[in-house]
């Protein structure tokens, strides 16, 4: 019983020591609070996949009422910033220079062919280098084209009849606002960085400075030392997490459809895994320099590219999909996107939360095993 009390006292002392260290070198506080504010504001406003006012060229080789009608549809759309050009050669030059992203060309015979049974062809050229933007531009042109067809038919007192009328329904994000999915994903990425950065150097620092040996001669056990570090940084990380969620909801107006408490719980699991990853890096590297290098390599780019934040995991080859399973952020991105946009969907949350528990246990287990009291 008395030992239990002693242990609690030792732990309190260790946590106090960690907090003092945190306060003395403000970079930890900067990591936990400044980094999420800075990154979320920058990315929340900056990153968007919604193309707007795309510069394109309009070429009508024989301007007529028909060609003017069609072009008016494109000019009226906020998706495009069209520039009328006199010739195809001029437009092709502009495309090559990167001034425009696409060309819409109406040939000289446009008006005549329009009235023939096989119809006229509207030539569309897009800059394929950025394939995604190219596809979006194609989609916008197609939208303008069908608006124009409907209006044309209405003018002639007909209804436009396509055999099959395609009616898309987008669930969870009906206006396809890319910020709604990017911001929750960014919260997950930023939390990965915070978790790993907070702890990546702490164990290595103690080894490097020789203070680990000093800790060893105290009655505190290694488990207590680890618990002390974990709880101090956990509190700091939770602060950063709450700040990020608050910004997502109030600043970026992303709907939070699931329960906040559930989000908190899952974030805590994730934070344990992320802090555990940092501690593992720190313990295995033993020097701050190498630990820092590993943290740079192992955290940001994998979380950015392999978590399903931007790139769809289902579309990756099987081997790469298997690799994504060791990326902690993957599970949290799935949870956050679902909790924010869809709600409390247990079939998504439970397996991913379980995976977080396993990852946290593995990382903390490795750290615990590798940092027994021994000198080498």
């Amino acid at each position: 019983m008395s030992d239990r009390g002693g242990s609690a006292m030792r732990l309190r002392g260790l946590v106090r020591k960690e907090f003092l260290q945190i306060v003395r070198d403000p970079s930890s506080i900067a990591i936990a609070f400044l980094m999420p504010i800075f990154l979320l504001i920058l990315f929340g406003y900056g990153v968007s996949l919604d193309a707007d006012h795309v510069p394109i060229a309009l070429v009508a080789e024989a301007p007529s009422q028909d060609s003017a009608d069609f072009m008016a549809t494109l000019q009226g759309s906020h998706y495009f910033a069209p520039r009328v050009m006199a010739s195809m050669a001029e437009a092709e030059h502009a495309l090559r220079e990167g001034e425009i992203k696409g060309i819409v060309r109406l040939r000289a015979n446009f008006s005549r062919r329009l009235r023939q049974s096989d119809g006229a062809a509207i030539q569309v050229v897009v800059d394929g280098v950025d394939a995604n933007t190219a596809r979006i531009v194609e989609g916008y042109v197609e939208g303008a084209w069908s608006t124009w067809l409907t209006a044309q038919a209405a003018d002639q007192g007909r209804q436009l009849k396509m055999p099959v009328d395609f009616e898309p329904r987008i669930w969870f994000n009906s206006e396809l606002r890319s910020r709604n999915y990017l911001v929750p994903g960014l919260v997950a990425i930023i939390m990965t960085l915070i978790g790993a950065l907070l702890t990546a150097l702490v164990m290595a620092r103690e080894w490097e400075r020789g203070t680990m040996e000093a800790l060893m001669v105290t009655p505190a056990s290694m488990t207590e030392v680890l618990l002390g570090k974990l709880s101090a940084y956990f509190v700091l990380g939770t602060g950063g997490m709450l700040l990020s969620v608050a910004m997502a909801v109030w600043l970026f107006e992303v709907p939070l459809r699931g329960s906040f408490l559930l989000l908190w719980g899952c974030s805590s699991l994730f934070l344990l895994a992320a802090l555990g990853m940092g501690l593992t890096i720190s313990t295995l590297a033993r020097s701050q320099f190498v630990a820092g290098q590993i943290a740079i390599i192992a955290t940001f780019l994998p979380a950015f590219l392999l978590s399903g934040f931007i790139f769809d995991i289902d579309s990756m080859p099987a081997v790469v999909q298997a690799i994504t399973h060791v990326v902690v952020a993957r599970y949290f991105v799935a949870i956050v996107q679902t909790l924010f946009l869809a709600g409390n969907v247990w079939s998504v949350i439970l397996p991913n939360a379980l995976a977080l528990v396993v990852m946290a246990a593995i990382f903390l287990g490795i750290t615990w095993r590798k940092s027994r009291k021994r000198l080498d």
């Binding site: 990591i31 980094m35 920058l42 406003y45 900056g46 990153v47 968007s48 193309a51 062919r113 096989d118 062809a121 509207i122 030539q123 050229v125 897009v126 800059d127 394929g128 280098v129 950025d130 394939a131 995604n132 190219a134 989609g139 197609e142 067809l149 009849k161 055999p163 099959v164 009328d165 395609f166 009616e167 898309p168 669930w171 969870f172 009906s174 396809l176 890319s178 999915y181 620092r205 020097s287 320099f289 190498v290 820092g292 290098q293 740079i296 780019l301 590219l305 790139f311 769809d312 289902d314 579309s315 990756m316 790469v320 996107q337 679902t338 869809a342 709600g343 969907v345 079939s347 998504v348």
Partner: protein, 369 residues
């Protein structure tokens, strides 16, 4: 003087490569990451999981569905028999797309009335949903064209003939792999430079370096060379993997590529050394490295185009060296650009690089603890 610098360069290389862990970190991960990321980074959807809820027994509905089962990009995960089965499937992310064909579909088609086809998408990842929507639309359009042709109906008065330049199949891998080269090169320069000065400061060896006859400019050169050399080697290996393994076409000029790479390395190394000389501890250096690297990557136009960003953020991207290097990479790889077209990208990197290096060198002496 040359001898002094050479000795310092030798020492810097030793400091980087002597530790086997540090050596391994510099060599293995960038290549592994290029392979993994090269396959991961694509906006092309493969095997979109879809479900079908078909209430119609007609042949037309079956013909339309054949368009999906025959497409490589779709994979059937379930056939539903009730409205209530849709939500759980989509919620659980088991299906990205649910195609719902109503009971009157074939009858409407045969009667010449527009037949409704309701398609539900999981919009949690709005970009994926939009791409899937384009895929579905093109299958429906093809079905419509076939139907019009087969039944002698009047088609629309005008149709679109689309073509993409530089990347005819709109393979987004061609777009991303050059970008990955830029990102990994940036990461390598950060690895080599961001912690070096901070480590020496923490261990006190930097003060010793300052009292030697070496001038700050010479220390700067000594610290710059390793990052530069390792960056060139790394980028060359990555370039070979990109062209030989991933078969991304390289149609532009190789000297222009290396000239751009050299300028980019200068600005990357400059930024890394600047961070490092500002930091008092390695923890601060690491924080600085992330505060530079993460925005540099996300705002570079790698995944989300700069043109989509608000004006103010577009201004910020002007100081991001990766922004210019990505344009060079894509132009050189895919569009076959030479020196002339790239001048606008070269000079900003030169400015960023020399400003950062000068400031770092000045800080060597003026930031003491």
């Amino acid at each position: 003087m040359l001898q002094r610098i050479l000795a310092l360069v030798r020492k810097e290389f030793l400091a980087l490569l002597k530790d086997p862990k540090s050596r391994a970190v510099l060599i293995v991960p960038p290549i592994v990451q290029l392979l993994v990321f090269g396959y991961a980074a694509t906006f092309d959807l493969k095997q979109v999981p879809y479900a079908v809820y078909n209430e119609d027994r007609g042949i037309a509905a079956r013909d339309l569905l054949a368009g999906f089962s025959g497409a490589d990009s779709f994979r059937l995960v379930a056939e539903l028999h009730a409205d209530s089965e849709i939500a759980p499937l989509v919620d659980a992310r088991r299906a990205l797309v649910v195609i719902h064909i109503g009971p009157r579909f074939s009858a409407d088609l045969a009667a010449g009335r527009p037949a409704q086809l309701q398609v539900i998408f999981d919009g949690r990842n709005s970009n994926t949903a939009m791409i899937a929507q384009n895929y579905v639309r093109s299958i429906v359009n093809r079905f419509n064209d076939d139907w019009i042709a087969a039944h002698g109906q009047q088609g629309p008065p005008a149709r679109l003939a689309m073509r993409a330049w530089f990347n005819p199949n709109l393979e987004s891998r061609w777009f991303f792999i050059p970008g990955i080269i830029g990102m990994l090169t940036l990461v390598v320069t950060m690895l080599v430079t961001a912690l070096t000065v901070a480590r020496e400061r923490e261990q006190g060896t930097f003060d010793q370096l300052l009292v030697t006859p070496l001038r700050p400019g010479e220390i700067l050169i000594g610290k710059t060379v390793p990052g530069f050399v390792i960056g060139i080697i790394q980028a060359t290996v990555i370039l070979l993997v990109a062209t030989l393994w991933f078969e991304v076409p390289f149609v532009g000029s190789l000297p222009a590529f290396y000239f751009g790479l050299a300028l980019f390395l200068l600005s990357g190394v400059g930024a890394g050394l600047l961070i490092s000389s500002l930091a008092a501890t390695q923890q601060q250096g690491l924080l600085g490295a992330f505060l530079f690297m993460v925005p540099a990557v996300i705002l570079s136009g790698f995944a989300t185009p700069i043109a989509n960003m608000p004006e103010a953020v577009q201004m910020i991207t002007l100081v991001d060296p990766l922004r210019y290097f990505l344009i060079i990479l894509r132009k050189v790889f895919l569009e076959g650009a030479g020196f002339g077209l790239l001048l606008d990208q070269f000079w900003p990197m030169a400015v960023i690089g020399s400003a950062a290096l000068t400031l770092a060198g000045w800080l060597f002496r003026h930031r003491m603890y």
